[in-house]
């Protein structure tokens, strides 16, 4: 069973992932931690705008802020993606079994006709 916190987190995760800039930020962070200013550089948007994107990513717990002295380092946290990944795996397993069963059925039918 999953609770309300999990549900909200899943919503937050999908909202966070629904934007190309945020996905690009995640791809960058997946390669290693970075400062906010470093993240803003490749995007043609203001620091303020990048901060807003990062807030959404933090809310979805896809990104975590670490304080190193006076610096804020951002780190990618992939765990929230797990629920989404789980659903995809479940459906793929189900439909794969269906297609394989159809294949088997049609193969058997062909043999019977011979």
């Amino acid at each position: 069973m999953i609770g309300h916190d999990d549900e909200r987190l899943l919503d937050d995760t999908l909202t966070a992932l629904a934007d190309p800039t945020r996905r690009a930020i995640l791809r960058r962070l997946a390669q290693g931690e970075a400062r906010v200013t470093e993240l803003a550089a490749p995007f043609a948007i203001s620091l303020n705008s990048v901060s807003k994107h990062i807030k959404l990513l933090e809310r979805a717990r896809l990104v975590e802020r670490k304080r190193m002295g006076r610096e804020h380092l951002l780190q990618f946290r992939p765990e929230s993606l797990r629920k989404v990944q789980e659903w995809i795996s479940q459906q793929e397993t189900f439909w794969r079994a269906g297609l394989e069963a159809i294949d088997q059925m049609l193969t058997d039918e062909s043999k019977e006709k011979r």
Binding site: M1, I2, D6, E7, L10, D11, T13, L14, T15, L17, A18, A30, P78, L81, R82, K83, V84, Q85, E86, W87, I88, S89, Q90, Q91, E92, T93, F94, W95, R96, A97, G98, L99, E100, A101, I102, D103, Q104, M105, L106, T107, S110
Partner: protein, 155 residues
């Protein structure tokens, strides 16, 4: 909220596109492969009802027994284009009626046989529901999940 998540599976068939297409809409054939598919998950595969109204806007209803519980699946055909495409909603509980998941089956004829691809798209709210469900697919996949979770890595 609008964010969609997709599951996608492809399979190559030696059988023709027509035969693969018909396997989805002929109740007698659906009974055979649905039962076989459910048995691969360790379920009885005891099919109770298979009702199909194969027209756009027509409904289908499949159910099978899992112990004392009747697991029900139903939906509406949104597109039917023999032998290339079937689009249908996929619902496992009344609460899914409002915003159902959508399954798109495309069948590409090839010189010998065909390739079928299934894309199952769902929004966040509905995924939550599936995760919570103790009966129906949620339960059925729980054990598979345990196995998959170990091998599936997140990028």
């Amino acid at each position: 909220m609008g964010a969609k998540v997709e599951a996608r599976v492809s399979h190559r068939f030696k059988a023709s596109a027509d035969r693969v297409y018909d396997a989805w809409l002929d109740p007698a054939q659906v009974r055979v492969w649905m039962a076989a598919s459910l048995r691969t998950f360790g379920l009885s595969g005891e099919i109770r009802r298979v009702e199909i109204d194969p027209k756009i806007g027509g409904k289908f209803f499949f159910s099978d027994m899992r112990g004392e519980t009747e697991a029900r699946h139903w939906g509406t055909y949104l597109e039917l284009d023999r032998p290339r495409k079937i689009v249908f909603t996929w619902i496992i509980d009344e609460s899914g009626e409002a915003d159902p998941s959508v399954v798109t089956l495309t069948i590409e004829p090839e010189t010998e046989g065909c390739t079928a691809t299934i894309v199952h798209a769902m929004d966040a709210q509905w995924i939550d529901y599936v995760s919570r469900t103790e009966d129906g697919w949620g339960r059925m996949f729980k054990q598979i999940d345990a196995t998959l979770a170990e091998s599936s890595s997140l990028q």
